[in-house]
Amino acid sequence: MPKISIQDLKKIKEKERARMVLREGEYRAKITVHMGTCGIAAGAREIMTYFRDRIGQENLTDVILTNSGCAGLCAKEPMITVELADAAPVKYVLLDKEKAQRIFDEHVLAGKPVEDYALARGSETRAT
């Protein structure tokens, strides 16, 4: 069995320490994948894998990927929430890999939310 090598972990630690000094400390973007029973059954883990791969490929150190539980909209899973620093969070629904790709390219990387896949647009408090 491959034993986790202490040497490898030490190398990562030294390298990442040096990087953290360069970084301002805060994350620029946070992607939360809803990982309740409903989300998992609808494919949330694959969505998480997709974002993990992209973050790795783009070598991003300021994007954090995390989980949350059921948001109460089970029929709309898989769902994610994307938060950019200084911007309102956006919830995306009924995701698949293609949609995740557009969200990553346009919202996470370029900063422009993908309205097509967002849960809602505007606010219900302003009835017209």
Partner: protein, 209 residues
């Protein structure tokens, strides 16, 4: 048998229609690794900071046993008694909780069952066992993705993953890794990449003939 073939193809048509109507993929727990992810996430919701996952595949005795233990807040006996009822949940956002009863159903389909033990204030242990070679046993699925998703999504929780297959053993304990990494968080992309490779390699070796 022609009748069975017709049945199968009509079932397939129905599920394809279902999937299309959804505009999405077919929704269900496809494999055991997804059940494990689901139960472990329950533990996190219950406030656990340590979750132990053990998978034991004993091909000689033809058993597959999965145990998920957490040190979360646990359940009162009254709640525990009805927790496998599919209409029970602790959630307030939705009325129906399904995860554990779905896992139990999967175990029962493969000549097994699922048991839960819980002590308020101490934690919960879920144990599912089944016949390894049963034709209706769900496949193991991708355990590497389940474990890495748990670690990355919940960097403040520790995970111990033990997988034994016919005497061979793979162990990953984030407590040891955390100690070695000091202030570098477990969800650091470089750490995640390293752990994922370790998981994939370890599980491949476990499954070698």
């Amino acid at each position: 048998m022609p009748a069975r073939t017709a049945d199968e193809s009509s079932n397939r048509r129905i599920s394809e229609r279902g999937a299309q109507r959804d505009g999405q993929r077919f929704r269900h727990m496809e494999d055991l690794s997804l059940h494990i992810l689901d139960v472990a996430e329950n533990g996190i919701s219950a406030g656990a900071d340590l979750i132990k996952i053990a998978v034991e595949e004993d091909l000689r005795r033809d058993t597959l046993t999965i145990t998920i233990e957490d040190n979360g807040r646990g359940m009162e006996p009254e709640f525990l008694a009805k927790v496998l009822d599919p209409f029970v949940t602790t959630r307030t956002t939705r009325k129906v909780g399904l995860g554990l009863s779905l896992f139990q159903q999967s175990a029962r389909e493969a000549e097994g069952d699922l048991e839960i033990r819980s002590t308020p204030g101490q934690g919960t242990s879920v144990r599912a066992y089944m016949s390894h070679s049963h034709i209706d046993r769900k496949p193991m699925g991708n355990m590497a993705e389940t474990v890495i998703t748990l670690i990355e999504g919940n960097p403040d929780t520790d995970f111990v993953y033990n997988h034994i297959k016919d005497g061979r053993k793979f162990v990953l304990d984030t407590r040891e890794i955390r100690e070695e990494l000091e202030e570098i968080p477990l969800n650091n992309p470089e750490v995640i990449r390293f752990l994922r490779e370790n998981l994939i390699q370890g599980l491949n070796e476990l499954n070698e003939p």
